[in-house]
Amino acid sequence: MTGKGRGFVRSRKGILALVLTVALLAGCGQPAAEMVSIPATPAPTPEVSQTQVLRSIDGQSYYTQTTCYDLKTMTACDWRPELPAGYQMTGEGPVSDGQALYFLMSREGDLTGQALGRMPLEGGDVQILYKCGEREQIGIAYTDGAGEDCKRPVLLRSGERRCFLVHRWTGEEGNSTWLYGWDLESGVCEPVKQLGSHVRFWGEYQGRAVLEDSREPEAGLFQLDADTGELTVLLSGENTEAAELFLGPPLLIRENFVCMGTMFADNPDGKERVYCLDLKTGAIRQLASSDDGYLLIRMQDIWDGKLRVRGTEGYESGLWYVDCVTGQRVEGALADESGIPLHIRAQIGEYYLIDVPSEQMAEYLWLNENGEPVYSRDIGRKLALIAKEDYWAGQPDYQTFEREARETE
């Protein structure tokens, strides 16, 4: 409160005026609106994902780099594991197998010093499973919800082994992507198999990782069985129509859908389009294009068969969902005041973890490129849990996480 405001309240004349004004308004006012109580979303019983691809939920909690969201108690608390000296966590946060958390680390100011870390859920020291050598990188991807800066390490469950991808590029031997395995019992980490020369993870199908090799003659889309290292062909160059569209550009693969977007510069008519391949039926469908009202069309994510699309043109932008099977727009999803559907981060059984606008402004302090503290304010966001049916029906019947008081050291 400013000095001026305090002066008014402390002034006796001010108090008299305030009392009279309140009394007057009380007499003229309408009856107070009836309070509507929104039934709280019950906390779900989280299920540990049994797909080979690990996600950001450990069965009880969802983690970002700095916060742990407990799904049973619906509380959020700070989470800052003590990392090996000189390392900082990178990416959006860890993935979990229900026993431990796995995350990517890098040395401050050193882009080549990547390492894969593991910390048991019950706490304890962070163990380095793999340190990248020169010209090596650990595979990362949108393992849960896609979005900006939400990439996490690609970790695959294989019995008592946890597998991950290492991309290696050397001038003489060429590029290669390796499947590495770390054994829970022996603690040994070793290469399992060279998967190809230029292989990327784009999502999962039937619980297994889907990799793309974009280099001829091996070009194709493959399903990886982490137990055996076997690659099963999902799409090869023989299917010319699909191969022309889907082998090459970045892909988004969820459930049985493979989506890709074409760029305006590559199309003679200067328009962008998003196509979807149904791996079950082989059908290819156009889901969005510049004809929807925006020049630039980008796919964002797929949730329960609905593709989230972003369109931009100049300062204008829009977000909407399209049904991957019918190609029709999905109307009525839960949206913010400006009509933008709320962002989904992850799914837990029949629930979604979503970002909801917060009344409070978030404040950030960071160092700029000259080492000066910079203070920024932004509209805050809170995480919330919502039943899937409520999200698609546009019912704001979600439950937010209560922030736990910071523990004093």
Binding site: K13, E108, N368, N370, P373
Partner: protein
């Protein structure tokens, strides 16, 4: 008719009585309010966690009050608006006057600064309600690239922040010396709990690039003082921060 006159008279009498009854205590209230307004407000001084020494230092108090009470945060020119302003002839001289108090500010430094200001193509400036002013000047650097020169002064012309391209390289000893002189020139050296801060770049520093960050923190005044030299840019400034906020950008007090 007579009854109507009687009713009107009674109403007027009642109104006059009510008006007198309400107005009677006004002179007393006026006097009481006057006393309240002139009292020293001790409440805010008692529970803000700052030391008595920091509260009695004028510049420290201005920086803290501006931040905490008025919620004006201008760290690193964050609120410097992109409003083109007329060149204020006096503005650079206010800066020159402050810098010339400092031994580390050499004639070469001064010439470099004056040259940049004389080549300014565009000025932006903003002032806040407590008299602090910030300037940003777009200037040509070495006849080849555009550079931004920024500075901020308090109402009493104490430097709050300076960021400029410079040909001179600064070592960590230079930066420490700069902070010593800055504290003396601003009167902040009266505060005796300045501690060294361990701070490292949080940004990517390419091979061959010099990035030297030096900083001090006063828990009593809740002020963060920094002097940095990164890739040909000198940044010197002071800003209010809570001690817990240091961790947000990876800084911590050095153990003695």
């Amino acid at each position: 008719m007579k009854q109507n006159l009687f009713t009107a008279a009674a109403f007027l009498a009642a109104f006059a009585f009510l008006a007198l009854a309400l107005a009677a205590p006004l002179p007393l209230m006026e006097q009481s309010d006057q006393e309240l307004y002139t009292q020293v407000m001790t409440r805010q001084l008692a529970d803000d966690g700052r030391s008595a020494q920091a509260r009695s230092n004028e510049f420290a108090r201005q920086l803290y009050d501006r931040d905490q009470l008025l919620r004006v945060k201008n760290y690193a020119g964050a609120i410097l608006q992109t409003t083109t302003a007329e060149i204020e002839a006096a503005a650079p001289y206010r800066l020159y006057d402050f810098l010339q108090q400092l031994d580390f500010w050499s004639s070469e430094n001064q010439a470099e600064l004056e040259q940049q200001i004389s080549q300014a193509q565009r000025w932006e400036t903003i002032s806040d309600s407590v008299g602090f002013s910030a300037w940003r000047v777009y200037t040509m650097w070495e006849d080849a690239e555009w550079a931004e020169l920024e500075w901020e002064l308090s109402a009493q012309d104490r430097l709050v922040r300076l960021r400029m391209m410079t040909e001179q390289e600064y070592t960590w000893e230079d930066l420490e010396h700069m902070m010593d002189e800055y504290l003396a020139a601003t009167g902040l050296e009266e505060i005796d709990d300045w501690q060294a801060v361990d701070v490292a770049p949080q940004f990517y520093v390419a091979e061959g690039i010099t990035a030297t960050l030096r900083a001090r923190y006063s828990p009593g005044a809740k002020l963060y003082l920094y002097a940095n030299y990164v890739d040909g840019v000198l940044a010197l400034g002071v800003c209010p921060l809570e001690q817990e906020e240091l961790a947000q950008f990876g800084a911590s007090l050095m153990e003695e």
